[in-house]
């Protein structure tokens, strides 16, 4: 592990060299919000962003990704994308989400499309400078990450500290111009940033200890809250689509005009959408808004944790912001399940 000190000019020059080497996807302003996009020049980078509309997973699990090219009958050929690229300025909670996706796409039948893009990615995490309106990463242990990244940028008074790890980190460091190591005072300043972020990235206060959430949910299947909230649910899937840990997709085919060849591709899907659980024959096994609404909280708090041993909500707060109806706050849902135990459930 090495930590370097970069003043603002060194940072700008370093980002410029990254852009010259590889496609760099960093945070840019879009209207009044922020998005990850391809950087053409270092000046576009906004490390002082609060949160992006979509999470950076879109470069590893694209919103639409071609999986294979086919010709009807026998022939098909898998389509791969493994050109190296850099993800620059990923907030810790989004990085934790990508690490969770790594576990999920590696287990059982590994998803080679995901894994190839993931291996091609060099990920530079950036500690949060500006807290978004609804972030609660501090409650779920994702305000700070200490390992598994390739680079970590932290704002200090007159510049940034850059920590690099592993082979990809060495490549990042090799593009620094006259690198100077961070001194003890600067490292101590970085610890202050981390301490501060753990404390302040709590716009909502989760009162349920994450490790108790599974049991709470097992007791809450018939809780009236599901119906109450779902009454206002548009089934628009916005909470799914902005979520950094959601990973469900739909697979479709599209042929060209000749009908002799086409591509099979996948697109992001969402369990809140009405037809998500529609299967062949026209049966929908989650036909009500309440069943779909509840499912999402069980995925985040019970089902995925059973698979990977971690709470599958990283506290980015995007769903809270994206939900027009104002019903998608996981903290509010989990707190209420705890504070208002359902009578029937309690009697069991």
């Amino acid at each position: 592990m090495s930590v370097y000190k970069l003043n603002m000019e060194q940072l700008r020059n370093w980002v410029g060299r990254l852009i010259a080497e590889r496609p760099v996807y960093g945070v840019r302003q879009k209207d009044e919000r922020f998005v990850f996009g391809r950087l053409k020049k270092p000046e576009e980078l906004r490390l002082d962003y609060d949160v992006t509309i979509l999470p950076p997973k879109k470069y590893i699990l694209p919103t639409r990704e071609n999986l294979l090219a086919y010709q009807p009958g026998e022939h098909y050929e898998s389509l791969w994308a493994d050109e190296p690229f850099v993800l620059l300025g990923v907030h810790p909670y989004d990085f934790v989400a990508i690490r969770q996706l790594d576990l999920l796409f590696e287990r059982e039948k590994p998803d080679e499309h995901y894994l190839r893009r993931r291996r091609a990615a060099t990920i530079i995490v950036a500690d949060v400078e500006r807290a978004s309106d609804n972030v609660f990463a501090g409650c779920v242990g994702t305000a700070v990450v200490k390992d598994a990244f390739d680079g970590l940028l932290t704002r200090v008074e007159d510049g940034y500290l850059l920590e690099v790890r592993g082979e990809k980190g060495e490549w990042l460091a090799s593009l620094l111009e006259s690198p100077s190591p961070a001194n003890a005072a600067e490292l101590s300043r970085r610890n202050d940033v981390w301490e501060n972020n753990r404390r302040r990235l709590r716009k909502h206060e989760l009162k349920v200890p994450p490790e108790q959430l599974g049991d709470l949910l097992r007791r809450s299947v018939d809780h009236p809250l599901w119906e109450e909230k779902a009454r206002l649910c548009y089934s628009c899937g916005s909470c799914n689509l902005v979520c950094p840990t959601c990973y469900c997709f739909d697979v479709r085919d599209e042929s060209d005009w000749s009908l002799d060849k086409g591509v099979r591709y996948r697109v992001w899907d969402g369990c809140l959408l009405e037809d998500f659980a529609m299967v062949a024959g026209g049966h929908n096994f989650r036909p009500t808004r309440a069943a779909r609404y509840r499912h999402r909280y069980y995925r985040k708090g019970l089902y995925v944790p059973e698979m990977i041993g971690e709470l599958a909500c990283v506290g980015c707060g995007r769903c809270i912001t994206a939900c027009t109806a104002g019903i998608a706050n996981p903290v509010e849902v989990y707190n209420r399940l705890q504070e208002e135990p359902h009578e029937d459930d309690a009697a069991e």
């Binding site: 879009k30 209207d31 009044e32 919000r33 998005v35 992006t52 509309i53 979509l54 919103t63 639409r64 009807p72 009454r231 206002l232 649910c233 548009y234 089934s235 628009c236 899937g237 916005s238 689509l241 902005v242 479709r252 085919d253 599209e254 042929s255 060209d256 005009w257 000749s258 009908l259 992001w268 969402g270 959408l273 009405e274 037809d275 808004r289 994206a322 027009t324 109806a325 104002g326």
Partner: protein
């Protein structure tokens, strides 16, 4: 098996949807490789008898139109409703909100009594004859139309979204129009346009009509959260969805 014989018919509308088909340009050549156009008033003069696919554009407003549509239905294996006027009545249904005589007076003034201007309540195509497939939009999205034709030609069930515009809007990372304190109909409107209006700085007008089960109760309740009234919302919904039962809260 020969190419499917396809005919395009227009009723009360601006004919903008079939113009979209004409706008395929070079892909029009690809289209006629797949299907044989046998009747299409806007683009050719021939008339046909029995047809495989009838594409019907426009709303049904007069008794003679109903009769003509029923005859088309009898001639066709598959009947496809094209565009908002055909799929759910679209802007034409605004007329159903006022007494017919008043509507005629507003539109035609002193000429309102002329016999050739007489018409009745506006109907969508499925309110007169069974419809096998709907292609939504005002106008239709030509890329979606092309894809659906190819899927049909390949013998597959065409994919038509039954989720709201919000899905496509989020995937394009638009700032939500509600963050600008605008009423956007995206949350109740069927996607498929790739969130065309919100991606170009406007709220969704709801031209494609509602998803199968729009949560209109939510839409009404949510207005208060944004300092709006139900009347504000209804005013927006009625442009394209007048007479649409599913939008009545």
């Amino acid at each position: 098996m020969g190419k499917p014989r396809v005919a395009i018919f227009d009723f009360a509308c601006c004919e903008g949807c079939q113009l979209q088909i004409a706008n395929l340009d070079e892909d029009l050549l690809n289209l006629i490789e797949l299907v044989e156009p046998v009747e299409w008033r806007e683009a050719m003069s021939e008339k046909a008898g029995q047809i495989d696919v009838a594409i019907v554009e426009g709303s049904i407003t007069r008794a003679e139109d109903e009769q003509r549509l029923k005859e088309i239905r009898q001639r066709a294996e598959i009947l496809m409703a094209l565009g908002s006027c055909a799929t759910h009545g679209g802007v034409n249904k605004l007329r159903n909100r006022v007494p017919l005589e008043e509507a005629q007076r507003i539109v035609y003034g002193a000429s309102a009594g002329m016999p050739h201007l007489q018409s009745g309540q506006v109907k969508a195509v499925h309110e007169v004859v069974p419809v096998d497939l709907k292609i939504y939009g005002c106008p239709i999205e030509i890329t979606e139309f092309s894809r659906i034709i190819r899927e049909l030609a390949a013998g597959r069930t065409p994919f038509v979204p039954n989720y709201p515009v919000c899905v496509e809007c989020k995937l394009r990372e638009n700032v939500c129009r509600y963050e600008y304190n605008e009423i956007c109909l995206g949350p109740v409107t069927r996607a498929g346009c790739n969130a065309r209006c919100p991606s170009n700085g406007m709220w969704c007008f709801g031209c494609r009509g509602p998803v199968d089960h729009p949560n209109i109760n939510a839409a009404y309740d949510v207005m208060a959260k944004y300092g709006k009234t139900v009347e504000d919302l209804v005013g927006k919904l009625e442009l394209f969805c007048s007479g649409e039962e599913r939008i009545r809260g």
